[in-house]
């Protein structure tokens, strides 16, 4: 019975059945995310690679052949291929040298390289900087950048107005920027 159900699912998979795909993607997300995080401990990069893998799978579903294996293995192959591409991309980039403070100074205009984000001391610096902020500032930053909530949701969560959230966020960003710069220069010394 379950085998028959699985075969029906596979047929729906190749035909692009929305319910089958929803279930499939929901099941694969934690697995693939874990795979990417295991390779590079960088949440933003893991999300980027996860998104690329899911879209590659959706767009390339016509190339899936049930005779060669189950969809899970097929999507894992796509994920591994994306890891290989990322490795190649990194190899072609100039190596990251110098102090973290140099990158923090330019963070208004340049995206911090993944290699800098993945340095061991980076998580410690960010945690320390956050811990030095006022509790409201820390909360608003976490809500916006980690939980990715909208201003409206943050306002509701914090029992305040949207305008107050904007002001608080503005101040919190200035404080965090200042603390990051200070801690990075201390790290340099």
């Amino acid at each position: 019975m379950s085998e028959k159900l699985e075969q029906q699912s596979w047929a729906g998979f190749a035909q692009g059945d929305a319910d089958v795909w929803r279930e499939f993607i929901e099941r694969q997300i934690p697995r693939l995310y874990g795979l990417f995080m295991g390779r590079w401990p960088n949440r933003s990069l893991a999300e980027e690679l996860l998104q690329k893998t899911v879209f590659d799978a959706v767009r390339g579903r016509g190339s899936y052949d049930p005779a060669k294996g189950c969809p899970e293995d097929w999507v894992l192959g796509i994920a591994r291929n994306n890891i290989r591409l990322e490795i190649r991309r990194r190899a072609s980039r100039p190596s990251i040298n110098g102090e973290i403070s140099r990158y923090f100074e330019a963070m208004d205009t340049k995206l911090l390289p993944d290699e800098v984000l993945e340095r061991q001391e980076m998580t410690v610096i960010v945690r320390s900087a956050l811990s030095r902020l006022k509790s409201k500032e820390k909360a608003v930053l976490e809500a916006k950048y980690i939980e990715e909530l909208s201003a409206n949701d943050i306002a509701r969560q914090m029992n305040t107005t949207e305008k107050a959230v904007y002001i608080l966020l503005y101040r919190a960003k200035i404080s965090l920027r200042r603390e990051l710069g200070r801690l990075a220069s201390l790290n340099k010394k």
Binding site: W21, Q51, L111, S150, A151
Partner: protein
């Protein structure tokens, strides 16, 4: 491709600083699973992509055909323009009694340009 559902960032354009803050703060978050909003947005995006492949493929095919036709027409137009240009140079140089060497250089330059254009197409 990455969806941003955040009202805060839709009001202003998302700056590099915002992106960097997001990347930095995510280092401190829970790392064993992606964010709920990201997950929902990814699933919805993928399902939307699933719904419209045929329409997109047809559109992409039309664009390819149109661009191929346009390229050919432009190629012929460029070739005719180069040939006319070369003819014009010869005629003008005869009228102005231009130095023969200079005339040869001008014509050769045009021919070279033509060949490099064809080389680029191949």
């Amino acid at each position: 491709m990455k969806q941003n559902n955040d009202n805060l960032s839709s009001d202003d354009s998302v700056t590099q600083l915002d992106k960097n803050f997001s990347r930095l703060l995510k280092l401190t978050g829970e790392s064993n699973k992606p964010g709920r909003i990201f997950t929902e947005s990814l699933i919805n995006g993928a399902l939307n992509e699933l719904k419209q492949p045929e329409v997109e493929k047809a559109e992409a095919k039309n664009v390819t055909n149109r661009s191929g036709w346009l390229e050919k027409a432009m190629g012929w137009a460029a070739m005719i323009a180069v040939a006319c240009g070369a003819g014009l140079v010869v005629v003008i140089s005869v009228f102005l009694k231009m130095n023969l060497l200079l005339e040869i250089i001008v014509v050769l330059t045009m021919v070279f340009n033509w060949l490099s254009y064809l080389g680029g197409r191949i």
